[in-house]
Amino acid sequence: MKFWIGAAVAMALAIAIAGFVNYEYFFFAGYTVLMFVVLATAWNILGGYAGYVNFGTPAFFGLGAYTAALLYKTYAAPLALQILAAAGMAGLLGCATGLLTLRLRGIFFAIATIALVVMMETVFVAWRYAGGATGLQLLRPAPTAPFESYIKMLFVLMAAMAVASVVIARYIERSWIGRGLRAIRDSEQAAEASGVPTLKLKVFACTVCGALMGAAGAPMPMYLSFIEPFSTFNLNYAIGALASPMIGGTATWLGPVIGAVVLSTLQQVVTVTVSNETNVLVVGVLLVVFIVAAPEGILGLFRKLKR
């Protein structure tokens, strides 16, 4: 019950902010933070619960972004449809990735997901209709009724997606699926031997993870009014999606949310006040420090303090 009230409050807060704040940059930054909440939550379903390290965030995210951009370019499809299609395409890619786990574990799976990113980038660089290496310029349509600016609409939309992804992650975590995934993380052989349908669960986790990442990428072309392969398939998304749960804590749905909010807010501040390179350095240093010194993340630290 507490969770649902919290979710409703978060959503109401986002709408209220959109109604009262009139500072455009806030929404630009806020959108990015919320996007990383979705990416980190999605990453954690596979990485945190099942223990499969996925560096492929940019592949799913970028496929979602390109699906949306191409739908808009070709059919001028509405945003909702773009997001659904993006989630569908990225979910399919996730399903295929899930089948890879049949043979690949640990570092091999991680490297294979990097491979996925490079392959996707190569395809979209070579694809003329999708803009090739130079990219596609997209003209934003007018914002839909209650919103007076497009960026506010995207902000509220991303807030809704963040809440939805947390709800999905929490459901998975608490159901038998989550228990199965955790069994896989602890010992895949033992899980298989005790009757956990490991492959089915892994494919499911990969599909959900991919679909959520694709959905998070779908509004990106509209957010930038532009899409281009090198920044879309940039490994920096993978770093953010992986570092947030590691910093927040991978055991529960709350960890990635805290991690993403802390990390992306910090990144926004550092990018504005210092430089873009320093911001990546901050992520790297925080990631390593947390992995080494606080393996259970911020949540783990809190739990220790309480005791």
């Binding site: 990485g47 640990g106 091999f108 491979a115 392959m119 290496a133 992986l242 390179e277 320093t278 350095l281």
Partner: protein, 294 residues
């Protein structure tokens, strides 16, 4: 789809030269990941770091290969320190080391990369040497850049020395033994951690020399390690983890396929980066134990 015969010949020739280079830059990873099972995603980043150190030494008036050789002892110590740290924080504790170990090395690679950007900027760096910029004619109008020949020779030397070291010396055999059966080694009264630490030091030292070769063969920039993650892991996995003969063969296969794709009129440069990853996915899917796998 056609590719003219003389162009194909040229592509294969360049591929072989390139392949030797790929084998050399992967040799270190073949020890650290292939034999020791350390998910060393930061290997290419350490190599790029080696390139920048070489660049600094060349500016001080040294030959790049001499610089690379000089860098080996300090990198050896660095590698030992890195392994010790990795062992104490992850391997010793056992459980869940997988996810965290991979993320740890990923973070280290990121720090090295951004550190280089902050220190030297994103510009490409090149070095000067007597053999850079010249080319050698080998019959007809086929010319080979001298630098690729020099790099190829050094690369062959690295792999030969490493192979001999692994099979002839006591420590080399111990490294192979620790990869095969660690508990047995412990029963023999050998400390596996010290052997692994030594091996990781060697792997890192080779990475330094690989970095020197990297900057000889072409300009280097900080984010270059990302492309080499695919190449080096593709070579090591294709080789069959830890096999030195395999590393050379796999390097050649990757070099030739990249070079053919590069010179192919229908594909060209934009498809070349995907070759290593496609090869990697193919091997992982079809024959995970590699060509010369145990």
């Amino acid at each position: 789809m056609g590719i003219p015969v003389e162009l194909l010949f040229e592509a294969v020739l360049f591929g072989i030269l390139l392949g030797g280079f790929y084998a050399a830059v992967s040799a270190g990873l073949s020890v650290s990941f292939g034999l020791l099972d350390v998910p060393h995603v930061a290997h290419p980043a350490i190599m790029v770091f080696g390139s920048y150190c070489t660049w600094g030494l060349v500016r001080a008036g040294l030959d790049p290969i001499v610089a690379g050789l000089l860098l080996m002892p300090p990198f050896f110590l660095l590698g030992m320190a890195v392994y010790r740290f990795y062992y104490e924080t992850f391997e010793k504790r056992g459980a869940e080391a997988g996810v965290r170990g991979i993320a740890f090395f990923f973070g280290v690679a990121l720090i090295i990369e951004v550190g280089l950007i902050l220190g030297f900027g994103v510009d490409q760096r090149i070095v000067e040497a007597s053999y850079i910029g010249k080319s050698l004619s080998i019959g007809g109008d086929l010319r080979v850049p001298l630098r690729t020949l020099v790099v190829f020779c050094v690369a062959v030397l690295i792999t030969v020395v490493l192979t001999l070291y692994m099979s002839k010396t006591f420590t080399g055999r111990a490294i192979k033994a620790v990869a095969q059966d660690e508990p047995a080694l412990r029963l023999m009264g050998v400390n596996p951690v010290r052997i692994k630490q030594w091996a990781f030091g060697i792997a890192t030292a080779i990475a330094a020399l690989g970095g020197a070769l990297l900057i000889i063969i072409g300009p280097v920039e900080p984010a270059m390690d990302r492309a080499y993650i695919g190449r080096t892991f593709a070579v090591v996995v294709l080789a069959g983890l830890g096999s030195m003969t395999g590393t050379v063969a796999a390097g050649m296969i990757l070099g030739i396929s990249e070079s053919v794709v590069l010179m192919h009129p229908g594909l060209g440069a934009s498809w070349a980066p995907a070759v290593s990853f496609a090869l990697l996915l193919l091997v992982l899917g079809v024959r995970p134990q590699g060509l010369f796998g145990r």
